[in-house]
Symmetry: none
DNA sequence: CATGAATGAGTGTTCATTCAT
DNA sequence: TATGAATGAACACTCATTCAT
């Protein structure tokens, strides 16, 4: 009856290897054999933990989305004022994107390339931003935030951070504390009434 | 005395096929054989026009960047005021991204994924935005535009359009003329002093 | 004082699963993992009961051969007349092939495909028909049965039943009681002097 | 415009290699890599001539069925008497099965194992026996052949040859000219009225 | 210039079997 | 005894690229 049990270590090692290889070589040069080798297991072992390559990517995406969202809403509470709440979330996200560069970069690829994660996982991943959407809606009801589509709000406040992350990763640009405050001001000015 | 010469038609057909397949199937499912078939030529023929697959992607990137920049600076002249010049360019870019969705989407993929075009082509592609950088520099000298890194200026004015394009392509969101004006106001407010 | 001992139930379950899968999916799509799952045990458990896959097939073959031969010689006694003895055996075999279709089909595959069971098991399996060969020899001595090779006798009396079984399994043909009597007459006419 | 053309030699070499390997190693140990090596081509080349492994087997089956049927009806004409026509066909088939042992053995495997060729090809292959079925029908109308199902006629006249072929291939038995005449007599006696 | 055949190296995945418990 | 995890070797098949014409 006794038996070896699935080791979470191996699962994590596989996810980490995948993240690393997709980020640095691209999806098209991250073969299962390399992933296995990097994780220190046999190629066949991957299929104990994941159904197939797509499933591996999907799970990696969803778990990183979840950990991103945890970071994004750290210390957030609905009783914060709209501005304070937004600033907290914005800074959390900025902090994540500029420090957890690898994870953020992976998520950015997945979100930008239609063919990387399947539609179901993408929809699932979207749910993670709900509290921010709720905050914006509240801000609009309170007359604090412009009454425009959340897509526009996102495009002008959160999405720019993805660009800064990419530049940071390429060492083209470094975001200082001052820059960050300027950037937040820009973001806030854009959406506040 | 007609001589047989490389037919530009075939070259164009190959570039178009590549754009289409990379956009719709992803880089990892855009094999040379499919590209050839779609362009109506033999796989071997690709190698008459392009050195290899990377070269094909690089050239496609550079030509689209060039045509993007042509669109971006249409009707622009250095004697325009900073605000008018910026608005012209911004609207040109917005127009391009929301109408030439396929081309814009391809460029966006290349710019976001480190491994798609090689570094040399990327650097080459960057030059296309020079007139905008020049305009910003002039605006800063004239005390009209905030004295912050052009990366930030780009992140908060141009880059958001990439997000709107992606949403538009996914039919999640449609940008109206009103939206566009709001979006421009946001962009301008962000960077003007 | 119950001691843990190899459970015959599991052994039987494994043999049944193998029979089913080889018959319905073919040898090449009857992997140990499926066999195990169908038998409700772990793949590793198979190796407690059988040395390897070949051994599993061999044992399945031999046990089915034995049960086939038991059926073939049911109620047979050497004091029966040659004709009566032959008719009894022939009808027993026909009954087996047309009712125990799965078992018969498996045996037929093994006997037709050189590479399914190994030579040793095949030789072992042949012994099961000995009483029929003895009967034929007696018939020849008594001048009742043609003095031709038992291979020919078998080919023209017993072997045709395999074809009828295959057709029956494919629903191309159904053998009635009348057919059966005609078929036996054919068989007997073929070999009687 | 010029190009290398598909060489029929390679196609034939591939079919031959497949026949040999399936016969001697079994379907489950006739991998594409071995087939390619034996045919003296790269594994990838197989896919120029055949869609996939199933297609390769199907085509091999159909071509052998066709050449079998050509042999079976050599010199046959509808104006022959029923008995003479049947003897001609029977001897042709016997000759084929006992001399073209490899081909006959392959066909026998395909016909016995449900999972080897797909249903469509099997149905296609069946058509090859039509002239024999026609002859039997004529014989029944003329009151020369027993009025029983053609499945029974086949089972008792043609099918036994498959057994003799198998035994011959295994060197368990050799069919002489005398044997053959005896065997034909058995076959004819079985079905004639 | 242009081609379809040809290929070695590689792809994602499965398999019979063994390991550690 | 019995297990599920683990695996090296193999599988069918595809790819970017080159060859021969």
């Amino acid at each position: 009856m006794a038996k070896r049990t699935k080791s979470n270590e191996k699962r994590i090692a596989l996810l980490n290897a995948t993240l690393y290889l997709v980020n640095n070589n691209g999806f098209h040069d991250a073969p299962m054999s390399k992933i296995a080798k990097m994780a220190g297991v046999s190629p066949a072992t991957i299929y104990i933990y994941f159904e197939n390559k797509q499933d591996l990517i999907n799970q990696l995406y969803l778990e990183n989305k979840a950990s991103f969202s945890e970071a994004a809403f750290k210390d957030y509470a609905v009783n914060l004022s709209v501005k304070n709440g937004f600033e907290l979330i914005w800074r959390n996200i900025a902090h994540y994107k500029l420090n957890q560069i690898e994870e953020a970069n992976f998520l950015s690829q997945c979100d930008n390339i239609a063919t990387m994660v399947d539609e179901e996982s993408r929809q699932e991943g979207l749910k993670n931003l709900q509290p921010l959407l709720d905050l914006w809606e509240r801000g609009q009801k309170e007359g604090i935030i412009k009454n425009i589509s959340p897509y526009l709000l996102y495009a002008y406040t959160i999405y720019p951070l993805a660009f800064l992350m990419t530049m940071q990763k390429r060492n083209d640009f470094e975001l200082t504390e001052t820059n960050l405050s300027e950037a937040f001001d820009s973001a806030w000015n854009t959406i506040k009434i």
